[in-house]
Symmetry: C3
Subunit: 159 residues, 3 copies
């Protein structure tokens, strides 16, 4: 039985791929956390968007006033969307990069900087920190993905 | 020729990976369906956002009145964005999970519950069903992805 | 050392996978470009959404007037979100498709048409071109992803 499995898990036996799996798992969990933070602010700020979500506050006009936007909720949502825009390319290009046979140390450098930059970006967005804190952390993550894409295209190029 | 291919398709010969491919294909098609539903509501409700999309209704003021938001359109769009926020982590973490060598029965359980929960979530959002229907289906899908991430990190951990 | 690596890079040695990596890299870089275009329009149109982003323009009322929406900024953002909605399914389904052992020529046809359609879609959105230019390019990309999903489900089907 174990022998059968071995064939299918050979990718996970590769160290670069294991590093990719670890950092991708962490950064996707971080992105998922944004949903919980949004829910937290929606409930504490009483700011909802769907009428059926306010039914617990009563009916009619009394519930309607909770159908509103709140600056804190919108801020978390912008952070979440920025995560989608930046973490999706990292996950896609990072997979191809991990399969392009980079040195483990170089790969770790890319993954660590990206994930560190995105965690910093979340704090910078939610606290919020004065600029250019958020802008720089965004640019660092962006550059890491760009660097991995360069290696992927150089290695795989077949148009 | 077939021999050559075999090497490249060995992943697809693995049963867990085939299950992953099936459920990922289904849930991504479901997500793509949201675009068609948005288009359907935009056209039937005559609610557009780009001026060039209303040119067919004439020019000037007569077309301008179709540049508006519609509650049904916005509802579908929120469902679509919620799909992106939740299906992207499933696709990424699910791939790593499928490569981490889980039992087929355990993997199928994860994939089936996630895809079932997301299909229910879409109906709950669009009908809409009273809460906590939509909230619970969201939480079920979220928990499945979290469970897969736990196994990925436990198996692959290399920081 | 090289021998060790070889095992992990066998996917990247497969021609269909190399084509997938090339086109996915290109189309994800194109999507990332949308962030730069958004930043460009935010700065030139002086239209920001976060108060901390306008601190460079002074304090109080003088800075507050730059917290506004701008049609050009919103247009780029809609294009970016449309990219997410369409490129995410392509990347996910395309990977499974590349691993399902298609003919190289058929795979290249799918990848080329999708990436060409999405690049056209971006120009159609940003210029903007009169409809149905943008709508058709969206439909072409959508159909390519659908065609790949059909093959993935036919090959991998395990429910």
């Amino acid at each position: 039985r174990r022998g059968e499995m071995a064939k299918s898990t050979q990718l996970i036996d590769n160290e670069v791929f294991r590093a990719y799996a670890t950092y991708t798992g962490i950064v996707l969990l971080k992105m998922m956390l944004m949903s919980l933070i949004t829910a937290y602010f929606r409930i504490t700020r009483k700011a909802f968007v769907n009428p059926e979500d306010t039914a617990t506050f009563g009916k009619g006009e009394s519930a309607k006033k909770f159908l509103r936007t709140d600056p804190d909720v919108e801020r978390v949502r912008r952070g979440h969307l920025n995560d989608l825009e930046n973490i999706v390319p990292f996950v896609g290009i990072g997979l191809l990069y991990a399969l392009s046979g980079p040195e483990l140390s170089t790969a770790l450098l890319h993954f660590r900087i990206f994930v560190g930059a995105r965690i910093f970006h979340t704090f910078a967005y939610l606290i919020p920190l004065p600029q250019p804190g958020r802008g720089l952390s965004w640019a660092v993550g962006y550059s890491v993905t760009f660097s991995m894409a360069y290696r992927v295209l150089k290695t795989a190029w077949l148009l």
